[in-house]
């Protein structure tokens, strides 16, 4: 399992290993932010491998969740017993109407973000 994830990590590194502009004043080799994050975490102690894998997985999970939630955007929504809005998709009572606030990871309502 670990091996597969690590090779996935290397694959993503090679995809991005084209010349990127460095940040102001940087003398280091041009590495993309994502690749650099992955590389530097990778060169930390091997005990952290599981952290890497989990992060990769949770990132992918986030993307999938975002896609799923996008699909629910146009779902009709019910009124519950007390007139409270009930979200058909999640069963949430009295919650925010419209798209799931966390579908892209942050907490948003009508376009305004309040937590991230």
């Amino acid at each position: 399992m670990a091996k597969t994830s690590l090779s996935r990590l290397f694959a993503s590194l090679s995809e991005h290993s084209i010349a990127k502009p460095s940040f102001t004043g940087s003398r280091s080799e041009s590495v993309t932010r994502s690749a650099y994050n992955s590389v530097t975490r990778f060169v930390c102690s091997s005990a952290q491998e599981t952290h890497l894998i989990r992060e990769e997985r949770s990132n992918e999970g986030d993307r999938e969740a975002a896609k799923e939630n996008l699909e629910s955007v146009n779902k009709e929504e019910d009124e519950g017993e007390d007139g409270d809005h009930v979200n058909k998709e999640t069963g949430e009572v009295g919650g925010p109407k419209g798209p799931e606030p966390t579908r892209y990871g942050d907490w948003e309502r009508n376009g305004r973000c309040s937590d991230f």
Binding site: E15, S26, R33, S58, P96, P101, T102, G111, D115
Partner: protein
């Protein structure tokens, strides 16, 4: 910089004495003095490295046999002196956000409480925390998982013990809030509805529609108002902590405050003080924080010899609405920034610089869908390279109906200022949002100043490490406020209120003698200086940093502070004078310098702190940045307490 900063590491078995004005590369350890009946407490920050900091903390009051040191119980005494009033409380709380209120409600069962808050009680960062609070409340979730997510988000700089404590105790704190009347969203099965935010691998965000913070604040305030043991002093601006030296220990005896409505100084003598004063967003020009967030608690604590930690980790949001880019500028400067959600980028929004060049693909293959911190750095880099004030986020290529139905809030706000987001790009700029660092706290919210506790954003508990996980800040506030309760009660019970203590410190002075002309001038200059400081911080201490820029910031801030103080004192301002704007300014200077010093001390990039000359993580640097108090003999008005510190006769 007068403060000394230590990059602390290794196995240090000695007690700590404060490092006065030494170089900021190495901490100098001096064996502490031991008293009889000493209790040894550890402010341990394991972080995978063994306990490297031991502070010998003495419960001085227990060691005394003198019968004067008996507890007076819960008597509230208010003495009105000719030169202002003094009030006596068992507990003084600075700040009325979730941390302050939660703490107050508990300690009020054991003594009298004063809550000192600089504006209306609900005016706090808590109130604006509209997202949610995270906790393990689902059977398929686990404390382990929450801990893991927190540590990963924190770039492994978190203190594992703090993380464990917060993730473990979180669920109980939520349940208590519910018992107190906070009303969170639930599912139709009757269970709490749990959302999932970025960085969390389980659904664990508890929320109240979209105003969680406000709902928690409401429930707590209601309980506070109904509690006979709690007195709320609103529009009371805290000036400085009242401290004394007992040998090598600093002891806190209360706090001076300015009633900004009546322009009167009020001295609070208290057995225990809790700082819950929140963040310091207003050191930057663009921030999500309300105006009250000027780092008052951090500054007061630093001046009172408390240790400060991890100030370099300032969390920015990449895309706040940039008022400068709006066709019709808002009449009043927006107090707290309007953040544009990631969903705009998620739905296909594209970022451009002012030359209409799409820049994200240059920085990351995921372009606009790169992680938020990557986007933030990219925007910051573009702005600094091109010397521009904002970039553009364009969603106008998407169907008009979709834009208006998903983002009506943004659409309305922009339309009111002459911008149609279905036709034109949105001007955006990063905004400062949260301070991960602050006053260094142990697991009970204790600081190195006896009788001084901290909770919430003002504290650095080790939970957030180098970057805060979404929805963990309300949780941290709840957990640590609760944890500080028992030690506070213990401390309160073993101390007495010395009714003559009030005269030990020079009283702050309201500048009536200066006259209104001079005051107007001073106010005007102070406002300009504030803007100038914010501008320096954004330009030189932003998201993408470098040693040379930080050093320039240090220089410029030093000069600006000197210029401001000179102006004040030339116009008759005295050392002990106080006014709201001037005191906020000195706190902003103090916090800004703490951020710069900390940033200079970290020679690696980790989490929120990115240095172009140290762009990688260094395993050997996976340690907190610690700032020790500065010597009193040097330093500016912002770095010294207003009063003289008396030396208490040693009882040893």
């Amino acid at each position: 910089m007068a403060a000394s900063i230590a990059y602390v590491g290794g196995h240090l078995q000695y007690g700590v004495n404060f490092c006065m004005g030494q170089s900021y590369k190495q901490a100098i350890w001096v064996p502490s003095v031991t008293f009889n009946g000493c209790l040894q407490r550890e402010l341990s920050w394991s972080c995978g490295v063994s306990k490297f900091l031991q502070i010998r903390k003495c419960n001085l009051f227990r060691s005394r046999t003198n019968e004067n040191w008996k507890s007076f119980g819960t008597v509230i005494t208010s003495a009105y002196l000719r030169d202002g009033s003094t009030k006596y409380f068992d507990f003084a709380v600075v700040g009325s956000g979730v941390a302050g209120l939660r703490y107050a409600l508990e300690v009020a069962k054991h003594g009298s409480v004063a809550i000192i808050t600089k504006a209306e009680p609900h005016e706090s960062n808590t109130n604006y925390a509209q997202g949610g609070v995270s906790a393990v409340l689902c059977p398929s979730d686990s404390v382990e998982s929450h801990m893991q997510d927190t540590i990963v988000a924190g770039a492994y700089l978190c203190d594992e013990e703090s993380v464990k404590v917060v993730c473990t105790e979180g669920p109980d704190r939520i349940r208590e809030l519910i018992a107190m009347g906070a009303s969170f969203d639930h599912g139709d099965d009757g269970n709490l509805h749990l959302a999932r935010e970025g960085g969390h691998s389980h659904h664990r965000i508890v929320h109240a529609a979209d105003m969680t913070g406000r709902e928690i604040e409401r429930a707590l305030l209601e309980a506070v108002v109904n509690d006979p043991n709690i007195s709320v002093f609103k529009h009371h601006f805290a000036i400085d902590l009242l401290t004394s030296q007992d040998g090598s220990d600093t002891v806190c005896h209360g706090i001076d405050a300015l009633n900004t409505e009546t322009q009167e100084v009020v001295r609070f003598i208290s057995k225990v003080t809790l700082l819950a004063s929140g963040g310091a967003g207003h050191i930057y020009p663009s921030t999500t924080n309300p105006l009250v967030a000027t780092g008052d608690g951090m500054a007061m604590a630093h001046r009172a010899q408390a240790v400060i930690s991890n100030m370099e980790f300032v969390q920015f949001h990449p895309t706040a609405l940039a008022d400068e880019g709006l066709p019709i500028k808002p009449k009043k400067t927006r107090e707290n920034s309007f953040l544009i959600t990631e969903a705009v980028r998620g739905d296909g929004g594209i970022l451009y610089n002012l030359s209409m060049e799409r820049f994200m693909p240059l920085y990351d293959g995921r372009a606009e869908l790169a992680p938020r911190d990557v986007v933030a750095r990219s925007i910051d880099d573009q702005l600094k390279k091109r010397n521009e004030k904002y970039v553009l986020l364009d969603i106008s290529h998407k169907p008009r109906e979709k834009i208006l139905s998903h983002f009506p809030n943004i659409a309305n706000e922009c339309l009111q200022h002459g911008l149609d987001i279905t036709q034109q790009p949105i001007p955006v700029v990063p905004a400062a949002h949260y301070m991960c660092g602050g006053v260094r706290a142990g697991l009970q919210g204790e600081t190195n100043v006896h009788g001084l506790y901290v909770a919430g954003e003002v504290a650095c508990t080790g939970l957030h490490g180098a970057n805060r996980l979404a929805s963990n800040s309300l949780l941290e506030a709840l957990v640590f406020a609760r944890r500080a309760v028992q030690p506070s009660i213990n401390h309160m019970k073993s101390s007495s209120l010395d009714l003559s203590a009030s005269s030990l410190w020079t009283r702050p002075l309201v500048p009536k003698s200066l006259g209104s002309d001079v005051m107007h001038k001073i106010l005007r200059i102070t406002r300009e200086v504030r803007k100038e400081l914010q501008s320096i911080m954004w330009k030189y201490v932003g998201i993408v940093r470098s040693t040379s820029r930080l050093q320039e910031a240090e220089q410029k801030i030093g000069k600006l502070e000197a210029k401001w103080e000179t102006y004040l004192f030339e116009h008759g301002w005295q050392q002990t004078m106080v006014a709201l704007e001037a005191c906020e300014m000195r706190n902003l200077f103090c916090c800004a310098k703490l951020v710069v010093s900390s940033a200079l001390a970290r020679h690696e990039s980790r989490g929120l702190h990115y240095m172009t000359d140290f762009p990688h993580l260094e395993e050997s640097k996976r340690l907190p940045t610690v700032i020790f108090p500065s010597s009193h003999t040097t330093g500016t008005w912002s770095s010294r307490q207003l009063h003289q510190q008396p030396i208490v006769k040693s009882m040893v």
